[in-house]
């Protein structure tokens, strides 16, 4: 894929959030997008037509992350009010609130079967919440992190968390082991490659690091953007050919996965790019920013 095939053309601009948008996420099939922000709302969009479908309000403070189940029926969100919300998409009602984190919750994810929610919190813990039963107690608390957990990713068998203590910790349920990869720099965001072999970790030294998951080896380093003080996202394209990272100066960077060259960079927003999300199948990208807008990029 050459640089021209990258989604660098603005297709839509989604306005509606008041204040910073903190996360923008595609749903499982990429037809819809959920965004959340400082205005304590979660919004459901059709990014391909650029229309707002629904607004979800219940959070008491800013909403930091949101994730949709694979069947698009439920989603979960978390934020500054220290709770994890489990929502029904269609009715817009909160099915359950999971309380237990002692601090703000930075990230949430469903597992594949959408039976549990894993949340990463300021209280240095990952918590696993059960969606099936009516229990409000966490199924598991993972508190081996030494500092705020910023980001969490789930595979079929593992829970991976990235923390400010500089580690990416993989918790493997099959063998009951914890693999801690110390990067030496606060980890801002982690995302997993589509083939599941690599973890991309965005660190606060303005560097993205690509790790081999099996050996913990550092495969590649991506630089050029600014990521020092804000939570900015990074991800891989759906073909795993490029690495995408948002920058604090409003730019979005595309690196070649293998040789780590900046393939493309363009000004997506005026202010900090908080989140980037790549369409699971098409060449389409969502970016959100502190300036209160979400932009849809296509090629």
């Amino acid at each position: 894929m050459s640089a021209t095939e990258l989604p660098t053309k603005e297709a839509h601009i989604l306005k509606g959030h008041e204040g910073a948008v903190l996360a923008a996420r595609f749903n499982g099939d990429g037809n819809y997008a959920l965004t959340c922000g400082k205005d304590r709302t979660i919004r459901l969009w059709n990014p391909h037509r650029g229309i707002l479908i629904k607004t979800y309000k219940s959070h008491g403070r800013e909403v930091r992350d949101v994730h949709v189940t694979s069947d698009n029926a439920k989603f979960c969100s978390c934020g500054g009010d220290r709770q994890v919300y489990y929502w029904d998409v269609s009715t817009g009602r909160v099915i359950r609130k999971f309380r237990g984190h002692d601090g703000e919750v930075n990230a949430v994810k469903f597992n594949d079967s959408s039976s549990v929610v894993v949340s990463a919190g300021f209280d240095r813990s990952l918590r696993v919440w059960d969606c099936r039963s009516h229990s409000v107690e966490p199924v598991q608390i993972i508190d081996t992190f030494l500092d705020t957990v910023m980001s969490v990713v789930l595979t079929k068998t593992e829970i991976i968390g990235g923390s400010v203590d500089g580690t990416v910790r993989t918790f493997d349920m099959r063998i009951g082991r914890e693999m801690s990869d110390n990067l030496g720099q606060p980890v801002n965001c982690i995302s997993i490659s589509n083939d599941g072999n690599c973890v991309l970790a965005g660190c606060l030294d303005s560097t993205l690091r690509l790790l081999d998951r099996t050996t913990g080896e550092l495969l590649q380093v991506y630089k050029g953007h600014i990521s020092k003080s804000f939570k900015t996202d990074c991800c891989l394209t759906n073909s795993d050919a490029h690495v995408i990272g948002g920058s604090e100066d409003g730019l979005v960077f595309f690196w070649d996965l293998v040789d780590a060259k900046v393939v493309s960079k363009f000004r997506a927003h005026d202010l900090v790019v908080t989140s980037v999300s790549y369409h699971p199948k098409e060449d389409c990208m969502l970016t959100s920013s502190v300036d209160g807008t979400i932009r849809v990029w296509k090629k």
Binding site: G19, R40, S113, V128, M173, R177, D181, L183, G184
Partner: protein, 930 residues
């Protein structure tokens, strides 16, 4: 006092007898407090301050009561002032608390509030404060809508203070500053004018008594304003809107108030005041970082987490911020805000730049060679002239002995001072070996060494101080000791230390000398030699404590709090270790005595090695820091992690720890962990960790283990049950348990159970003692125990086995034995062959034994049961005896009411019957058991 005492002169007051004083004091105190507290309530008397009785009975008191208590006048009751309601309608009179208080109570109240009396109120502050408060209160009650300044004449003090009076006498007039007054002008009129000028400009013009022309007014005005010193009080927020009183439309949206105000002020005083920038107006100084637009809920308070990290960015371009304003301006702005008024006086403008500027002084220039730290020359250093310049590094002399001597001597001199050097120089003038003291062979090297040592000593002075301060000299580690003794960490080569070891004797010389000064180093080293737990200093410390207790005897301290962190079983385990180690040491002592001479240098060597290893570790640590920048990251580490079973279930994965004991639940409180968490759980969990480090055995074996563990977990409850319930249920449990136990085959499990038994045995013993039984010695088990059993771990610790056999009493019943044997035979498939057999056998034995223990307990219990039966019987007897006594008493006391008698009889009979029932049931139980 006799007549002969007249000759004496008495000083002071004679000591009175204590009783008298005490009683008098008591009375005095009681009298003073008005009621005799020591007296019973009905004897106490209430008096007023003059000692008159205040309360009287209904028919007592007479005149005193009527006169003093009610009216207080001879004429009797009369209304104090009568006002006819015809002319003067009585308004709603406000009652105050003083209406209901007595004089003395009022006096009390007065005493509480401290205020200057008007007589001494020099500047009238108190009075002014009072009147101001009063005015304020009034204003609150009936809010005035007068906008604008309220002249302070309206809230002037009611009574003039002495100071004001004095000033007035001296010619001062109100509203003027204290200065020369123009003689020609009428001060009062001027003041009035000034006041009016303040009020509004128009009024001045219309003033009827203004005889002066307008221009004159203008000029005099200016002067008068200068003259008037006392600042007028302003109504800070005059009501200027049309809202209802007390209604604040901006209550929940203060940003709009600010906006409106800025708009208004912009309208009214154009150019005077710039509208506040949006940021400022929105959130004030404190909450400047909150994201615009969305406050948090009314019930929540702003927190750190509400800070808007993106606040530096103005995300919406609709607000205009005046960026052209220099930073200085905003500062002024704030200053103005802090000066309470939001407006500047009409006709005045805020100064663009104030004359006031902070005078700054440059810090004094520090001379280049200035050392910030002052060095106190110690007593030793005072003698030795501190050689500031380091002597050049000199290669050591070829002769190793000489080198060592020099080194040792240098160390010693550095410790003991120059004096020692001089002394030894004199002493050893003829000695060739000490030539290095006198410009001879190796002098340079000596000088260098000495300097080095002195430097080192200086560095360590703090450390040594610490050591001296701390009373626990024993805590010295090898490192500190080494540094104290001036031992050099091994750096150069191992060869050197070898030579030093060979010529240890000569090296020893200075240290031996220094023994007179400090604690014996050799004893220290001897202690070092017996350090079986060198790697774990805490444990070593405990071991030493243990040794001390063992050899010195005396009262055994109940384990101090530092051991409390250990679990019961861990402690027991450690104790066994200690015993074994102590024995080993004991045995090895003789051997060691012989080897001491050769051992010591070796020890020293070891210490040195340790020392150096510590050094390298430090280096490694610093290296880690350095490596942060280098390429060693990412670093991978692996840990044990246990997913909860439910998590695995939700992820549709088999639990890797399936069948293993769940981790010890977090103790809710101390009691929980004390009572219901047996140590086996802890031990097992610890073991589990160690096991899972090498994950090999899988679920098939572990299935039964869990059940066993579970049983262990419930052990205390079992005990409870064993004591307080009959064991028929237990019999039912037995076959199941038996099967499970057969499958059991972990060696360490056996160890755990041994410990368990130890504890249980302890318990049994104490139980037996409590019930007054002799717990019989274990016989059968001993004879039955198979040779495999002897291969058990326990044999490694002979002390333990004895203890175990002592403590675990077993009185097995024949039938029980048979049963268990049958059970064993029933489940042969569960046994695994090979090496495991022995362990399984032994553990099976353990199990069985344990069960016997249990049985024992039951037996004990049953016996205790029967004993209690006996007791009850006894009681019964006593009761009947008492009954007999009762009846005899009845006979004696025939005047007792008959009904009462009947009642007692009835109750006793009922008790009787219930006792009978109990007895019956017990007997039945017994029969069932048999």
């Amino acid at each position: 006092m006799g007549s002969d005492e007249e000759d004496f002169v008495f000083h002071g007051t004679p000591i009175e007898r204590e009783e008298e004083i005490a009683s008098r004091k008591k009375k005095a105190v009681a009298g003073a407090s008005g009621n005799l507290r020591t007296l019973p309530a009905w004897k106490q008397e209430v008096t007023d301050e003059e000692g008159r009785r205040r309360f009287h009975g209904a028919f007592t008191g007479g005149y005193s009561a009527g006169y003093y208590n009610t009216v207080g006048s001879k004429e009797g009751w009369a209304p104090q002032s009568f006002t006819s309601s015809r002319q003067n309608r009585a308004g709603a009179r406000k009652q105050s608390i003083s209406d209901f208080l007595d004089e003395d109570e009022k006096a009390d109240m007065e005493g509480k509030s401290l205020s200057a009396s008007s007589q001494f109120d020099t500047f009238g502050f108190t009075a002014a404060e009072h009147s101001r408060k009063h005015a304020e209160k009034e204003q609150h009650e009936r809010p005035s809508a007068i906008p604008g300044p309220v002249p302070d004449e309206l809230v002037a003090p009611v009574s003039e203070s002495i100071g004001v009076k004095l000033l007035l006498k001296m010619g001062w007039r109100r509203g003027h500053s204290i200065k020369e007054v123009r003689a020609s002008s009428d001060a009062r009129r001027e003041a009035r004018k000034a006041f009016l000028a303040f009020y509004t400009d128009e009024n001045t013009k219309e003033t009827p008594d203004s005889l002066v022309s307008e221009t004159e007014v203008e000029t005099s005005l200016g002067e008068d304003i200068k003259i008037s010193e006392s600042t007028p009080v302003y109504v800070l927020n005059p009501k200027q809107d049309l809202h209802g009183l007390g209604y604040d439309p901006f209550k929940h949206a203060p940003e709009f108030r600010e906006k409106k105000r800025s708009r208004m002020s912009a309208n009214k005083e154009v150019g005077f005041r710039k509208p506040l920038s949006m940021k400022e107006s929105l959130f004030g100084p404190k909450s400047g970082k909150i994201a615009p637009g969305f406050g948090i809920g009314a019930l929540e308070e702003l927190d750190v987490e509400d800070e808007d990290v993106y606040a530096g960015y103005d995300f919406d371009q609709t607000y205009v911020i005046e960026d052209e304003q220099p930073a200085r301006q905003s500062n002024d702005n704030r200053l103005r805000l802090t000066s309470k008024e939001h407006d500047v006086l009409p006709g005045f403008g805020a100064a663009k730049n104030s004359d006031y500027s902070m005078e700054r002084f440059n810090p004094p220039i520090i001379p280049k060679d200035f050392v910030a730290r002052h060095k106190f020359s110690g007593p030793l250093e005072a003698e030795t002239k501190p050689t500031v310049s380091a002597p050049p590094e000199v290669p050591p002399p070829a002769d190793n002995n000489l080198k060592l001597l020099i080194e040792g001597f240098a160390t010693f001199v550095s410790r003991c001072g120059k004096l020692y050097e001089d002394l030894s120089r004199e002493k050893n003038q003829s000695n060739q070996l000490f030539d290095f003291l006198r410009e001879g062979n190796g002098h340079d090297y000596y000088a260098r060494r000495l300097w080095e040592e002195q430097q080192k000593r200086k560095d360590q002075s703090k450390l040594t101080l610490d050591v001296k301060v701390s009373p626990t000299v024993q805590k010295m580690t090898a490192e500190t000791r080494g540094s104290l003794l001036g031992e050099k960490p091994l750096q150069r080569s191992l060869k050197e230390t070898d030579t030093s070891a060979s010529s240890g004797g000569s090296f020893q010389f200075p240290t031996n000398l220094s023994d007179t000064f400090t604690k014996s180093a050799s004893s220290q080293e001897a202690a070092d030699a017996v350090k079986p737990f060198k790697d774990d200093p805490a444990k070593q410390e405990r071991f030493e404590q243990f040794l001390k207790e063992k050899y010195k005897g005396g009262l055994r301290t109940t384990d101090s709090n530092r051991v409390n962190s250990m679990s019961e079983s861990a402690r027991a385990q450690e104790r066994l270790d200690f015993e074994a180690a102590a024995e080993a040491i004991e045995k090895g002592k003789a051997y060691k005595e012989v080897r001491r001479a050769t051992e010591q240098p070796l020890d020293f060597l070891a210490g040195g090695l340790q020392f150096t290893s510590g050094g390298t570790e430090q280096i490694k640590d610093t290296g880690v820091v350095d490596m942060k920048s280098s390429k060693t990251y990412p670093k991978r580490e692996e840990f044990q992690w246990r997913p909860s079973p439910l998590l695995c279930k939700r992820f549709d994965l088999p639990d890797p720890f399936m069948g293993k004991l769940p981790p010890a639940p977090r103790a809710r409180n101390k009691m929980d962990s004390l009572i219901f968490l047996p140590d086996t759980v802890k031990a097992a969990s610890a073991r589990q960790v160690s096991e899972s480090q090498v994950p090999k055995k899988e679920t098939s074996i572990e299935e039964p283990e869990v059940e066993v563990e579970v049983e262990n977990v419930e052990r205390p409850v079992d005990l409870y049950k064993a004591i307080f319930s009959d064991d028929s249920e237990d019999d039912e449990d037995q076959p199941m348990n038996g099967k499970i136990q057969e499958g059991q085959e972990k060696k360490n499990e056996a160890a755990a159970t041994t410990l368990n038994r130890l504890i249980a045995g302890d318990f049994l013993e104490s139980l037996g003692k409590e019930l007054g039984f002799e717990v019989p010695m274990e016989e059968e088990i001993k004879s039955r125990s198979k040779p495999e059993d002897s291969s058990d771990k326990r044999l490694d610790r002979p002390g333990l086995k004895e203890k175990v056999e002592e403590k675990t009493s077993s009185l097995t019943l024949g039938s029980e034995e048979e049963k268990s044997r049958k059970k064993r035979e029933k489940s042969p498939g569960k046994r695994s062959g090979g090496n495991d057999l022995s362990s399984s056998e032994s553990s099976g034995d353990e199990r069985r034994r344990k069960r016997y223990n249990k049985k024992d307990r039951h037996r004990n219990d049953s016996e205790s049961d029967s004993s209690s039966d006996y007791h009850s019987r006894d009681k019964q007897g006593s009761r009947s005896r008492s009954k007999r006594r009762e009846s005899s008493r009845e006979k004696r006391s025939s005047h007792k009411k008959h009904s009462k008698h009947r009642r007692t009889k009835k109750s006793s009979s009922s008790r009787y019957s219930s006792d009978e029932e109990q007895k019956e049931s017990r007997r039945e139980k017994k029969r069932r058991r048999d």
